[in-house]
Subunit: 289 residues, 2 copies
């Protein structure tokens, strides 16, 4: 049995699954990051123990926001976890839980989780469309973190160098067009409302986000052509309202031979992708083959 | 012993190497594509036989321009090989040479060849800067062709959607900024002269090409962060005049954690990358492990 934990800025989701990702139990609690890392980590461990009950846990995976060190021993700093700096999440959890703990970027965990919910393929990419735009890449069944551990930053691909400034300081990142924050700012109302609204500002904001996502995905196809691209996160709940214009934009931007072999779909796992992916990735890292 | 052949629009380069890519013999002849595929293929086989001499050839790899079918049995159409359409290159060469023949895109072959000239790494990307901009990606020592067989089209990443029209019909592809053709057009003189010239038009053309290459490489780093990116092809002969401004642009566009782990270098093999890569890839495909 595996324990997976998804540490978000607002909530902590956790659950128990087996080695194939089948969910046996899951729950969530508020993060309350302002109470400090020690308090939050203690409550994460408590949640994990409660969910495990009498089951024996072989490994724990934890998905966390923000940049990690290459060895995945600490969070340097997390914009959504106020006051967290240089926190050794796996070491603390290992002590509290008494099991091996593997930490990974939250969007990477979601990519691992989501990829297992689809038929196996060589190349898989996930876009998490939330407050920011995250990403994860799974190649030949393995999470791809690249030379720095920071590959899969799909939200920071420049799609238009003349575009709006991104939180990262550069101009025209995909995130600056297609995050819920960017859509809400352009629409003048929350992103989930913008997708339903018929007012011109909302429609323009949604069209711009879909254009940027289509451009980013097309670039991804030119570079490494995954078999499957999945859209996840809060914005993916807009369903066909986001999926259809994104597909149309990709169609305009890739070669016919590429178009014949690309699937773009909505997340199957939703909120469960992150913690199940963390759990499965922990099993993979703990028992390398 | 392996035979490698690089079929270009102007010349055919070929050579004999061993399983580690050591060159034993090499030569080149004019392509004369206008004489038709049958004539050119016959002369390719003659060249191969002459280079092989009494050596026993285990496999032949051939790098060709233009889009290939997924099974690599034919060239659909090649813009630089006038009148070539639906040509079954490997079948014809196999008959003429009596050895297994593996065909692959020329830039992909160059990526395989070039990657073997550097210390092994997980992620490797090659840009071929010539008449067009080609690319190839090697992951964990294996050529990555993606779901369609057409991954690694690094020249068709959009770096500026408001940019000039590319030969592919879309706007702002890297190729539309950074090919020798694009540099020559913007500079009003051949690309190799533009790199040496101090006239403002030439300097602007070179700066624009370097900007676009830097933007494309930065996007590649955000997506899959290779350990090593190599610039090859005619334009790479400009040396530091292209390498330095490209490195500077990448520095401006990626995260510090990524920058610490990226190398951008000039080709070590030059013109030998294509045919040696074809030969090595043939050995790999012919004897899969």
């Amino acid at each position: 049995m595996l324990l997976g934990i998804d540490l978000g800025g607002t909530n902590i989701k956790a659950g128990i699954c087996d080695a194939r990702g089948r969910v046996l139990a899951s729950d969530s609690i508020p993060t309350e990051a302002h109470r400090g890392p020690a308090d939050t980590l203690r409550r994460m461990a408590e949640l994990g123990r409660r969910l495990a009950g009498r089951r024996r846990i072989g490994a724990c995976g934890v998905g966390v926001p923000g940049p990690l060190d290459l060895a995945r021993t600490r969070i340097y700093v997390a914009p959504n976890l106020e006051g967290w700096k240089d926190v050794r999440v796996p070491a603390v959890l290992r002590r509290l839980l008494g099991v091996p703990v593997v930490m990974e970027n939250d969007a990477n965990c979601a990519a691992v989780g989501e990829s297992r919910a689809w038929p196996p393929c060589d190349g898989f990419a996930l876009y998490t469309l939330g407050t920011g735009v995250g990403g994860g890449i799974v190649l030949n069944g393995e999470l791809w973190v690249g030379a720095s551990g920071a590959a899969g930053e799909l939200g920071h691909m420049t799609v238009d160098p003349h575009g709006p400034r991104c939180g990262c300081g550069r101009c025209g990142c995909l995130e600056a067009f297609a995050s819920a924050t960017a859509v809400a700012r352009a629409a003048g109302r929350p992103a989930h409302e913008a997708f339903r609204s018929r007012d011109p500002k909302s429609r323009a904001a949604v069209a711009r986000a879909a254009w940027a996502l289509g451009a980013g995905i097309a670039n991804l196809i030119h570079v490494f052509h995954p078999d499957l691209v999945v859209l996840a996160g809060g914005m993916a709940r807009a369903g066909r309202a986001i999926l259809d214009p994104v597909r149309a934009e990709v169609r305009r931007r890739v070669f016919a031979v590429q178009l014949a072999k690309i699937r773009i779909e909505l997340s199957r796992l939703g909120d469960d992708a992150g913690w199940t992916g963390a759990a499965l990735w922990a099993a993979r890292k703990h028992r390398p083959h």
